[in-house]
Subunit: 371 residues, 2 copies
């Protein structure tokens, strides 16, 4: 691991010195002076998310730090490396990517590529001996997801899917309230919507091979996640209706909108929408005792949460955090402490499995069981 | 018609007197003195809705007034008649109901019976020569609805379904905004929910024969209506998931919750929920230019409407009106002016047709086309 120091022996040293001195104050000071163990991340893909969110977020991380970039654009990579203090020797491209195995500074590869490339670069990363943090959706198909899980298991590397909301305080508070018998009671329904009006028709998100699908893969997955983590359950059946505006150049290959309903094991219902045609960004949980609601819930910042069916003011006071910093730090801590990430490969596979069933339900005009 | 006076000749008389006198002031005074033409209503069924809403609402009507009651409970009927100045001679029961044909005071019968009795009492009312205002849902099946329309056509009597929201200002403003290219643009989605936590397990609404179904017939129909009148379109296809809590004595015969999605002709989507398990009472319209939202939207009063995706304060300032008074006055005016009601039998039939398809979709686990 890319520790700043040979820290185990250093910690032992400092600890014993403190004990020898018999002074709690001096001991605390000694620990404070000890640099934190950190974990080196290589960003694989330096598109908009990497440049606008991830690279700046490292400044707020306690355990994760950027040490390498993997990109098809050497000039852009050099520029970003310079900006974030990354050694230019640690810039890789997609051809020499596998040689990261020889670079001990890299502990984790964070796959920020188009969905259709997640499987390949996760598997190659694991085979190079690196832990993998992979953007959502995990991959285009359940089979790809299974292969990713398999490769990481075989390499004894950790695999985490980058569901940033599960690591930030507003979502965590929502989940806490949703589990509360006093606040919500028995959950009867979760409605969740995710959508935005997508721009440039030539972007990879609108290319079936690269994106695996349309709005459902990219933004509807947030609604699906919300329905799952808020209900605390898995759906057993889905129905769906899909729609794309005819002759809209954006939707030649992938769908615009999907309305999907989930039937959970307990009978609770998820009523969800996904769209690339218009903005929607809210959820509500209906329970026998009460409700919680959020709008927006999936933005990078400014998410709001209310308890009850009224929306007074800005909602609950929750100290926000940088979603990406929290998520990357979680991965780093899992590596440091040898723990399984809260959103492992199985979590990503489950979503891709359900999304596949949603697409099938829309295509066949039939309810599809999730097995 | 149950006019207070032989008003046509009276109006002619007053008008010509005024002209003869050559004084606008006197003429206005003369018109003011002329009693309004009114239309006599017989309430058929005096349950909670009649007693708590309809009978009090007549006081706010300009054209409709209560002249008769039809009930199986003579004492209750006498009491209510006394309270609202209804001639006790105009109290009927379900056996002698057809003799209303001999009572010229009754112009309209307002059917406020359990759903399963709507068809019979509408048809008998029309055959007795009366116009019919019938509560929603129109009937238990499309076939019953068709028979009702047929009977009213044959008798040359008007038939209106009591969709009160279509007559009140908040809904009307919502529809106006939904049609506005500036406010909403092209509608992409309507979400609409209707639900409440139903009480007494022995009530007729939970009896399949009397209610025709569960929440969908009674409260989900509001969500369906909203999706239809806000989109301004008819669905071509529906999917649905239905759920009833096992061993809940309320849901032995009818369903608790239905999540249903509508695909409209234009491709716009309706994402809707109906429940007898928990309260939900909101809609939102998503368009290419903007949004409108309402919560509550189906209450008897206090409904609120916002333009945009934020909810600042209490929403748009709209002068409210008594839904039932407005609805009954509309029926009365249609009778007076010989016009077709805005929500005729065809409107009721369309909802029952779609609800039947929703039930079929839930039962079969299949998308069902609306033909």
């Amino acid at each position: 691991m890319a520790f700043e120091f040979g820290s185990v022996s250093r910690r032992t040293f400092l600890a014993s010195s403190a004990i020898a001195l018999g002074s709690t104050a001096i001991r605390a000071q000694a620990f404070a002076a000890e640099p934190k163990k950190t974990v080196g991340f290589a960003l694989v893909g330096i598109g908009k998310l990497s440049m606008e969110q991830l690279l700046p977020a490292f400044a707020k991380c306690e355990y994760a730090r950027p040490v390498a970039l993997v990109s098809g654009h050497p000039e852009k990579a050099k520029e970003q490396a310079a900006k974030y203090g990354i050694d230019p020797k640690n810039i890789y491209n997609y051809e020499n990517y596998d040689t990261i195995k020889d670079n001990p500074a890299i502990d984790v590869v964070y796959i920020v590529l188009p969905n259709g490339m997640h499987a390949e670069y996760t598997i190659r990363g694991a085979q190079a001996g690196k832990h993998v943090l992979c953007e959502k959706p995990m991959a285009n198909t359940p089979a790809e997801c299974a292969a990713m899980i398999d490769a990481c298991e075989k390499a004894a590397r950790k695999l985490m899917i980058a569901y940033r909301l599960q690591y930030e305080p507003v979502t965590q508070k929502a989940i806490e309230l949703a589990r509360s018998p006093e606040a919500v009671g028995v959950i009867k329904q979760v409605t969740a919507e995710g959508g935005f009006n997508i721009g440039d028709p030539t972007q990879w998100r609108l290319n079936r091979k690269l994106a695996g699908g349309g709005s459902m893969m990219d933004i509807g997955i947030y609604a699906l996640q919300a329905a799952r983590y808020l209900s605390g359950e898995e759906p057993v059946e889905v129905t769906a209706i899909s729609y794309s505006t005819p002759n809209d150049p954006r939707f030649k290959e992938v769908e615009e909108t999907v309305a999907f309903d989930l039937k959970f094991k307990s009978g609770a219902i998820g009523s969800c929408v996904s769209s690339y045609g218009y903005g929607c960004n809210r959820f509500r949980v209906y329970g026998t005792k009460g409700q919680i609601q959020s709008e927006p819930y999936l933005s990078y910042q400014g998410n709001r949460l209310w308890q009850g069916n009224d929306r007074e003011g800005n909602g609950l006071e929750i100290t926000p955090g940088n979603h990406f910093a929290l998520e990357m730090d979680h991965m780093a801590q899992c590596v440091l402490d040898d723990k399984t990430p809260k959103t492992p490969g199985a979590e990503g596979l489950q979503d891709v499995k359900i999304i596949t069933a949603i697409y099938e339900a829309a295509r066949r005009g039939a309810a599809v069981k999730i097995v």
